[in-house]
């Protein structure tokens, strides 16, 4: 079984639209939406949720106002500026300390060192993940809770569950929709994957972000393909990006033209290849054929 991850560095280059089309073209893949804090693949594939599970990525501190003597030790040792001296008073002190749950990184150091045992440190629910059926096959996706941490851990769960599902259903490919950027959720999406497809666009921002994300896939030693989406928006820059990509040892997998049909398909909750037979669909079909060929050739 192989894992193909679609990422972009820069956001909004068209990752999800391309993944949705791949899902249709692949026929027998398992899908995983690893952009857990702004997941969109479900808007096109309309999954029917079969199983939902809560995600707890860690614990959080809470000061019990009745027990706090306002010694200030917790504020002094917290390295995340998460403790504020504005909690309610009790019989002994006028004000107590309070943990801001959004700033708290769940290290538990305050609870450990509180001499009064006034700090609770308990697991919190940070989100939810789902196993679903779609018209293109099974899909694992998630929703990180609002203002929650640990997106990397949730990404790892989504990937592990998608792989499990692929084994159970005897499907030999997992297609992963990744997050923008090069940080925690992206690293969790690509480590140990077989192949990365970077979807970029012919803009200076797209080029800059492609180079950063290519450094990342190189750092982790993952074979990387590049697709320039909306390539005809600036053809000169498109060719320049191709040259730079090749010089870096990245393989060009194909380019996709700019077309309003992509947005229309999204509005109709369809993948581009389901919505249109020709035009931009031809480009996506060719891109997919190239990705499959490279997967079969280089990754036995």
């Amino acid at each position: 079984m192989k894992e193909l991850v679609v990422i972009s560095g820069k956001g909004g280059t068209g990752k999800t639209s391309i993944v949705a089309s791949f899902a249709v073209l692949a026929k027998k893949a398992v899908l995983a939406d690893c952009d857990v804090d702004a997941a969109d693949l479900h808007l096109v594939l309309e999954p029917r949720i079969v199983k939902r599970s809560q995600f707890s990525g860690g614990s959080q501190a809470r000061i019990m106002p009745g027990h706090c003597i306002a010694c200030g030790k917790c504020e002094e040792i917290c390295r995340f500026d998460a403790i504020f001296y504005d909690g309610p008073g009790n019989g002994r002190v006028e004000k107590t300390y309070r943990v801001d749950p959004i700033a708290c990184e769940g290290c538990g150091v305050c609870a450990y060192f509180c001499a009064e045992n006034a700090i609770e440190f308990t697991p919190v629910v940070n989100g939810e993940w789902f196993v679903s059926d779609t018209r293109c096959g099974p899909m694992v996706h998630a929703r990180l809770g609002i203002a929650q941490e640990n997106s990397g851990k949730l990404v790892s769960i989504v990937r592990t569950e998608a792989k499990k599902l692929a084994e159970e259903r005897k499907r030999d490919l997992v297609i992963i929709d990744g997050a923008p950027g090069i940080g925690c959720p992206v690293i969790a999406s690509i480590t140990g994957a077989d192949l990365v497809l970077v979807v970029t666009e012919p803009t200076l921002s797209g080029l800059h972000d492609l180079e950063r994300v290519a450094d990342l896939t190189k750092h982790f030693g993952i074979e990387t393909l590049v697709c320039i989406n909306k390539w005809d928006l600036n053809k000169d820059l498109g060719s320049e990006i191709e040259r730079i990509a090749r010089r870096r040892g990245l393989k060009m997998a194909g380019n996709v033209r700019y077309d309003h049909v992509v947005t229309e398909a999204q509005i109709k909750k369809k993948s581009v290849v389901e919505y249109r037979e020709d035009g931009v669909t031809t480009d996506i079909r060719q891109l997919w054929a190239e990705v499959v060929a490279l997967m079969d050739k280089d990754l036995p």
Binding site: A38, C107, Y112, I146, A147, I182, G183, F220, T263
Partner: protein, 284 residues
Amino acid sequence: MQIAIASGKGGTGKTTVATNLAWVASRNGRKVAYLDCDVEEPNGHIFLKPELSDRKPVGDLIPQVEAEKCTLCGKCGEICRYSAIVCVGQKVLVYPEMCHGCGGCWLVCPAGAITGVSREMGTLETGRAGAIQFAHGLLNVGEIRAIPLIKAVKSTDFRADLSIVDAPPGTSCPVIEAVRDADLVILVTEPTPFGFHDLKLAVETVQALKLPLGVVINRASLGGREIHTYCTARRIPILAEIPDDRRLAEAYSRGEMACDALPEYQSVFTGLLEAIAYRVSSSS
């Protein structure tokens, strides 16, 4: 006044709004700082083309263990919630990339064998783009934690009248760190199903932080009125609308500022600046 530009969905036009806003505010005589907090993929410099005059490494503390003092008691491994330090056999192993720099291990070590030492995670670069003061962070490739670097970018002391924070996409911790001190958060969206869906997530995030917010609709002529209906129902002001103009996309592709390449758009951003000032004064 600090304004944060965020979005939920990537590629909706955060950097376009943030840089052009800085441009018009600076032309209007305001003392402006542009702070690029998308430290994973910063792009503001492509448009503002600053002269960078200073570079410095930004790090966070990680544990360093002195083997001679260590008694192998294992307390450091017990307190660490991130599996960044473990005592195995006759050795204490540190995994720097897992470390959140909480300091638990060096506080708990009874032998005083652990000290917090700085480890570089990225670079802070500062300079000027004309009259605009500029700062951005570049996260080192392979680093997981963006937050210390975002803090460093935001704490650059520019003494500006108007600080514009360009936030990363998404709704998780780096976004929260970028926007948490803002007087107003502007969410840039586009009228597509993905744009609208991610706008709703971003609105929930900003409301959880109890911060005032406004919306800018980019490529506004592209879709229907769903976003307007949604914003009206929740009393979220729409501060500006930018049309879907291929010339804007082409100027963007070349790294040109909309206000420079297409001067007719200056009025859109001046209008946005006025709407922001009004919104901030009415919510404070």
